[in-house]
Symmetry: C2
């Protein structure tokens, strides 16, 4: 039996190839909860640190639109949606501050600042960024991986709700 | 006052460019203890995860001679010395097993198996490799960084003992 979702679908949830391949191998999933459980195990126990960096690199900087030639159009579209609260609460000044702090963060840690932005305002995100900037690199690396997992879970839920009929078909 | 040691010297102790540049900026060091204290702070608090991976990539696989064109001849020479106990206790069978486990380790974690090998026999190293292979990638990443720090400390001691006269000159 083939999986309802393919590599492309899982790559839109999390930009690590190892994650996506492992999800396809672990599926098909009858429920969202099964998919999330498998995703957590794969992300934290099987994807190596290079895979984490690969997944982080798929994200635009907070406050920026994903590039038009993003390898996953769905990823880019979801990313934009997740940042809608941040964008609607941003002023020119706070956006400028976000750009500057993003650059400092990237300079210190070597990857983009990652936060599950859904429903968060720009001031909230800025506060969080400044606090996390103080962390040791390895601590921040783990926090970023946890934020990536939160994003992945929200996106898996979108995958499932977009495919309710197909998912139900597996159960029967 | 210039530092007694330059980038090249520190790169022979730890193959991260960020580590080496920061050590030069933090120096010169009057004592080995000062240098080790600075090195620990730089390695664990300032070098990012890409720098850790860069440092790991400078190491040959345990049981293998560093390549002849290693960018630091001193690094390659020290690496060979640190593995002398392992090499003298190895048989064809255990060396073969080491090669196989190194490959499995690299496949799982995405970087070379790193251990402070000084004085350790091949059977000891193999046992350790098999135990560490069970770890989650992020846990193993931190353990490898701690092993790298042990190696760096031994090598800083070599740098200082090779330059006793110059180092003493700073004190006066």
């Amino acid at each position: 039996m083939g999986s309802v979702f393919d590599e492309k679908d899982f790559l839109a949830s999390c930009g690590s190839t190892k994650f996506s391949n492992n999800m396809v191998a672990a599926g098909p999933f009858s429920t969202l909860q099964d998919a999330i459980q498998a995703a957590r195990d794969i992300w934290f126990n099987k994807v190596d640190v290079n895979g984490w960096l690969e997944a982080f690199a798929a994200h635009p900087q907070i406050g920026q639109t994903p590039s038009r030639d993003h390898k996953s159009p769905t990823f880019a579209q979801w990313s934009k949606g997740e940042q809608s609260t941040a964008m609607s609460t941003a002023t020119e000044v706070t956006l400028q501050e976000l750009v500057q702090w993003n650059a400092r963060y990237r300079e210190k840690f070597g990857f983009v600042f990652l936060i599950c932005a859904s429903g968060r305002s720009t001031p909230e995100i800025l506060t969080e960024l400044k606090i996390r900037y103080q962390n040791r690199p390895i601590i921040e690396f783990e926090i970023a991986a946890q934020e990536q997992m939160k994003i992945t879970e929200l996106r898996l839920a979108k995958l499932f709700s977009n495919n309710v009929d197909t998912a139900s078909a597996i159960k029967s």
